[in-house]
Symmetry: C2
């Protein structure tokens, strides 16, 4: 306290003591712009993910886009094809919404034969939650005059991979946003600057980044990410396709693997729950491997298709324990046990893993991931 | 689109094209760690202020605090004085709350004889809004055993200025947080790392940063910031002291000075409203200098002591216009016109300026600040 502190800054940065609160990068070494980075959800609290830690999934790196030159073209089965500059879009009526985005491949290590041992965010952190602000896509479709025969909108990003995907018209009209702002500021490059689609509650591959094309069409485009990927073989030999909705899910962020309980006594269990179907109605927590369950407190406000923070006090007696959480959403859908999910979906799964997660507490207070 | 993009990052940064979305620094050149920086609220949308752009007010710079060595001491009129390490506090039950912080001196240029001409955020941007997570102070006071004769808590920060201030016990028990997280991540250095008090709805000088001492006492400490500052002479010759509550306020962030309407037609008016008394009930907007008012849409969720985003479509006909907004909170309190505020408070004012703000639109589409 005897020396003056650091000066003011135009844009702040985290403390240098918080070096572990970073995205964990898992890029393809042969194609470094292709990969993922995980949000460190085990290091975070509340429901907002700060922009610097929102998860990433890129196919060919983060493009450098000049917003003055970027345009969004809306064409195909519309009466009046339109091309919007970013400044044009900024003039339209906007709405804000706090909602999660989750990669369809999040938590896929849960399909492994053996439980993966990583910090919880590097297992479930292809999910993040922000306040997104933008123009409802329905407003732009209304202006373009969508023709009645249009059933799909084919969206394409301006990255070098030209990622594209098909969106049903019903979702485009329901709650899809052409987003320009994330957590107050303009969207960052890795999250789609200057324009990103946001489809609340649906797998994030549909929330196309660097959006530059929207084509209204009769049929889906059958792009790689709706045929070779984001589909999976079922026990009956058929494949699941267009599995857009992210089902209810939850996990305990604290305590979780990597943390060690220092002695017995009172702890607070804290975690995240969310559902693509709407609001979380209830989260239950077990400290005995699922024999008994207690209802956790849900932090207000509880918002639809949004992270919900749950918390519960828990007294550890020093004995081995297995902690679990299960989410129930407002439709009554309940997060399944792992065995149930595998019985339904088989062993070929890769996407949409949302089973109950179990953390074992050892007598020394250390935590590990178990199938229990 | 023909070259691969930038690689993944452990912690993201804003687009280099958004160079104007920065805090504007106004530091004392003789004492550079003493001053303020303003949130660029005219560049933001929604209600969340990203952490890098939260306003700052420091007296002797930003201290470099090692969280392993930092302690919070709770002493004075308590049965059991306690000293908490940061890890101790992280074990306590936490709650989250999205709320605004506003400096008591925010918008004080409104007291000037002539209307200041700056971007709106550099006039009203000593206010920001975050999701704060921490331990209710009531929990810690309960553990320490607050004695009935304690009426005040004297809080001190660990900066080189050792800023201190007195907090009434009632507020400490009502909704004061010992915060550790801001917008999901640990609080940043300039916002009080590792521990900050948060007093929702009260002037931000009470939300002591780098908190290291809390002393329960019978009387206030009569620190500089509750005697020489944050008080003001009234028309009757008496001074206002302990004017904790931030009254209802609003202003239009878009369009605002610095922006130019490109041609006539439809625009969206967008702005922020907040009240230290609770929720915003209504925001009205005038485009004719206050002769007629229309009710704006309020973005859900509307939270207590929190920024509320209001929006209204507006068709500009090319004629000179004066835009205003006025907030009414759930207690019925209505943001006053400037003349009313000055009639009540006199001309010696510096703190707690919350009058209605007027932006004049000229025929060329440019905007300026006017008293109207």
């Amino acid at each position: 306290m005897h020396t003056p502190g650091a000066p003011f800054s135009n844009y702040g940065q985290p403390s240098t003591h918080e070096k572990e609160a970073i995205r964990w990068i898992s890029a393809n070494s042969g194609a470094p712009g292709n990969g993922i980075s995980w949000s460190p959800l085990h290091k975070l609290e509340g429901i907002i993910t700060p922009n610097g830690l929102h998860f990433e999934r890129h196919h060919n790196g983060v493009p450098a886009i000049d917003p003055e030159r970027h345009r969004l073209r809306l064409h195909g089965l519309v009466r009046n094809p339109i091309s919007f500059g970013v400044d044009d879009l900024l003039r339209y009526p906007m709405v804000s919404r706090i909602c999660f985005l989750e990669c369809g491949g999040n938590s896929n290590a849960g399909w492994h034969e053996e439980p993966i041992q990583t910090p919880a965010g590097y297992f479930h952190g292809l999910a993040s939650c922000s306040e997104w602000t933008g123009v409802p896509l329905s407003t732009l479709l209304d202006e373009a005059g969508l023709l009645p025969e249009a059933r799909w909108l084919i969206a394409e990003g301006a990255d070098a991979a030209a990622m594209n995907i098909s969106i049903p018209v019903e979702k485009a009209l329901e709650d899809t946003l052409v987003a320009l702002y994330q957590n107050g500021e303009r969207i960052r490059p890795e999250n789609g600057y200057p324009i990103r689609l946001i489809l609340p509650g649906w797998e994030a591959v549909l929330s196309v980044k660097w959006l530059h094309l929207l084509q209204a069409a009769k049929e889906p485009v059958m792009a790689r990410n709706e045929t070779a990927k984001y589909t999976e073989l079922q026990p009956d030999g058929k494949a699941r396709q267009f599995t857009f909705l992210m089902d209810a899910k939850s996990f305990i962020t604290h305590p979780s693997p990597g943390y060690r309980l220092r002695g017995t006594g009172l702890f607070q269990i804290s975690g995240l729950a969310w559902s693509g179907r709407g609001k979380i109605r209830k989260v239950e927590v077990s400290a005995d491997g699922g024999q008994s369950w207690a209802e956790a407190a849900l932090q207000e406000p509880i918002l639809s298709k949004c992270f919900t923070r749950f918390r519960l006090p828990w007294r550890w007696d020093g004995s081995p324990r297995v902690l679990k959480s299960r989410a129930i959403d407002e439709t009554g859908y309940q997060q399944p046990e792992r065995a149930t999910l595998i019985a339904e979906r088989g062993r070929n799964g890769y996407f949409h893993y949302n089973a109950i997660v179990s953390w074992a507490v050892a007598t020394d207070g250390s935590l590990s991931h178990v199938y229990a």
